[in-house]
Each structure stands twice: as C-alpha cells, then as structure tokens.
C-alpha cells in the first residue's frame, strides 16, 4: 500500500518484490485536501506536500508545518510525496514529523468497518515502524489551531538546502509574554533518536523563565540525555548531539530579542 511512491520506489529498486501486490491510494479524492470543522482541521493523508504548502489553512493556522514542508525534498518530490506517506514511513528524519508532534497531531486510522484515532507520538514506535494493522489505512490528520503561540519555529540542518535528509531538526511552538517570559512551550527534535524526541522535562524546565541564551543553555544537559543519535553516512552522533543543542539557541532569532533579557 502506498501513496506518492517517492520512498517505496527507491526501496523496490534495491529489492524487487515479486509478485507485485501493490495498492496505490494516491488518486482517492476523499483522502485529499484540507477541511475545517468545529473539531479542528482535517488533512487528507494523500494530500501532496506541495498542495499543503499552497493551502491557506496550513499557511496561516499551522505555519510550523508549512516551514517543515518548505524544506522537504525538492519541488517534484513535494508534488508527489504525501503527508500520510511521510508519517507511515516513520523515518526519524521525516520533515513533517517534528511539526506534527508539537501540534499534537491526532491520526485517523480507517479499516473496512472501523475508525480509530491515535496521537502521532503513540503511532510511531521506531524507525519505519508504526501501529498500522493489517487492513487499516491512515485516512488523515487532525490538527487543532492554537492561536496562543507566538513563535512558530522550524529549522533543519542538512548537507545542502534542497534534497537533503536532515542531520538534525527542531520544531518549536512558544508563547512568550511581552516581557520575554516563556509561558508555554512545545519542542520536537528530528534525526537525533529512533523516533522524534519531544522531551517534556526540557519543556517544563523552560517554562516560566526568560527566553534568553542563559535559559536555553541551562536545559542542554537534559536535552543531551533525552536524545540518542547515531553515526551514519550523513553525520556522526557527536556532531548531531552538538547541533541538536545549538539549534535550540536559534530560538532567540525567532523572537524580537533584546540584549539583557533574563540576565
């Protein structure tokens, strides 16, 4: 079962499967597009990344997701690949995943006779592993707009801008008061562990403090404990560990930061 095929066809090239019992969901209209309802926004799982990037609901209500989509693959990959595929592929480097974690995305799973909902953090259990049972498909993603947050941050570190698999990435939603105090914070790192890392202890340690370099530096030990990066073709574990911390400091660039805040 597949949608865009951008991941599957690369894998099939290495390991051809015969016979070939493949079902492509890509042309099912009901699984495409974004709908608004009192419950929130529903994103059809087979919506292409490009279609979501140009969707006004995604751009204005969920800018952190739009920022992740913007740097995913390349233009043709964004025309073909789907958000549902990015979730079910469950790569720790999936560019839509950290944004979906900080947005507390809830997934709608359908089978012939049933519908169930599951939080994305409970759905993805390891690299390439998710809790999709036989006979089920991911139908879509539910997101709730939370206008409270005033910083919508996404940063991906890769070897180049286009067509790069992330070495480390960070998504963040913050509510920072006028005086610079972090009132609410959601954080999620990609590519630094077998799944996306969204450490609640780091979030808790930031809450109530001034958004300053000092405050961010203080949570670094907690962050380094929460992540478990690996050495691979793209980067070493040590490099990922350093970068995961450094990209948190970039939050300062997302806020009209004044020298002297919190010091």
């Amino acid at each position: 079962m597949y949608a865009g095929g951008t991941d599957l066809l690369v894998r099939l090239r290495k390991n051809p499967v015969n016979p070939f019992p493949l079902v492509c969901l890509g042309q099912i209209k009901e699984l495409k597009g974004v709908r608004e309802s009192p419950e929130g926004a529903f994103i059809g799982a087979c919506s292409s990344h490009a279609s979501l990037l140009s969707n006004p609901i995604i751009r204005y209500a969920f800018p952190v997701l739009a920022k992740g989509l913007q740097v995913l693959g390349s233009p043709p990959i964004r025309n073909m690949g789907t958000i549902g595929g990015n979730i079910c592929t469950a790569s720790p480097a999936g560019d839509t995943l950290p944004p979906l974690y900080v947005l507390d995305a809830v997934l709608e799973i359908r089978s012939q006779n049933a519908v169930r909902r599951i939080a994305i953090k409970d759905f993805i259990v390891g690299p390439g592993q998710q809790r999709l049972n036989k006979g089920e498909i991911l139908a879509g993603i539910w997101l709730k707009n939370d206008p409270d947050f005033n910083i919508h941050h996404f940063e991906k570190v890769g070897q180049r801008n286009a067509l790069a698999i992330s070495v480390a990435s960070l998504s963040a939603l913050l509510k920072v008061s006028e005086s610079g105090i972090i009132e609410r914070v959601r954080l999620a790192w990609g590519s630094v562990a077998p799944t996306i890392v969204s450490p609640t202890n780091v979030e808790a340690a930031l809450k109530g403090h001034f958004l300053s370099k000092d405050t961010l530096q203080k949570v670094m030990p907690l962050l380094r404990e929460a992540i478990s990066p690996i050495d691979d073709i793209r980067a070493t574990a040590a490099y990922r560990r350093t970068v995961a911390g450094n990209i948190l400091l970039r939050l300062l660039a997302s806020f009209p930061y004044k020298e002297g805040y919190g010091t």
């Binding site: 951008t6 066809l9 233009p75 043709p76 073909m80 067509l163």
Partner: protein, 158 residues
C-alpha cells in the same frame, strides 16, 4: 495491465506489467528517449515529466499511476517546426552543455513559469533545486529561465 492516459496531447492505451516504471514505459516501450535516467532514486531530476502540469519524477512512478492523467514529456513541448520559448532561451543563453539534465530542467522551468510568469532568480533557483547539473554551474540555466519568461511574456502581448 491496461492503462489509458493522454501523452503529449494524444490519448493512448498501453498494456504494461504492473511493476513498470513510467520512465521505462516512456523510454523502452514508447521510444521517447528525451526523458533521461540519471540516479533512478529521485535525486537528480533528469527524468522529470509533467503530470497534469506538475513536475514529477518518472523514475519514482509506476505506469499504472498515470491512469487518466495528462502527461507531457520533453518531446511534447515543441511543435514540429518551432521550439518552445524556454528551449530557445536555453540555446541562446548557452544553458546546455552535455545536455543530460536539459529535458528535466526545461520541464521544471515550464512548470514554474505556468505558476509564476515573472520569477525572481531566487524563485528559479528554488523551482529547479531538484534538477542537478554537473556542467553549467547553474548561472546560465537561471539566465535561460529568465529569458524564457521574457519570451513568453512577449509572445502573449504581440
């Protein structure tokens, strides 16, 4: 399996094995060798085609996914006697060296210009960021896409 789609303006029906990639259907079965295979893994853009006007990678699609779609390959952008303005601009600006990336780059440029008639150089760089070129250093390709944009605009007003 039998599939029907529109290829370069003509409706066709073909019988293909279910694991046939679009790239192989075009090159091997239909002899449209303008579409190139570079990496075969979606990273180089040499196999770019337009499906319903959007750039896609024919190495990452199975033929069955074309059912009911409008497909344009590089062979379909020019008429018998006249090149597409973007192709003319690629020649005029020296944006073609070995030529292997050119069909994909031209189609990605046409996709961009359909959505954005007057792109900035940054817009062009982003739109063609999935098309690798090992010869030109990209400057002349960006020049050519700007040239193509001007030609298309002139064509519309004259």
């Amino acid at each position: 399996m039998k599939i029907s789609f529109t290829l370069n303006g003509k409706k066709i029906r073909v019988d293909v094995p279910p694991d046939r990639r679009v790239l192989d259907l075009l090159r091997e079965d239909l002899s449209l060798t303008g579409t190139k295979e570079g990496c075969g893994t979606g990273e180089c853009g040499a196999c770019t085609i337009l499906v319903n006007g959007e750039s896609r990678l024919s190495c990452l699609m199975l033929a069955a996914q074309l059912e009911g779609c409008h497909v344009t390959t590089i062979e379909g952008v020019s008429s018998a006697k006249k090149l597409h303005p973007v192709q003319e601009a690629f020649i005029e600006h020296g944006a073609v060296q070995c030529g292997f990336c050119t069909p994909g780059a031209v189609l990605a440029a046409i996709d961009l210009l359909q959505r954005n008639a007057e792109p900035t150089r940054q817009d062009i760089r982003e739109a063609l960021s999935g098309n690798l070129c090992r010869c030109t250093g990209y400057q002349k390709i960006v020049d050519a896409v700007q040239g193509g944009s001007a030609k298309l605009k002139k064509g519309q007003t004259s």
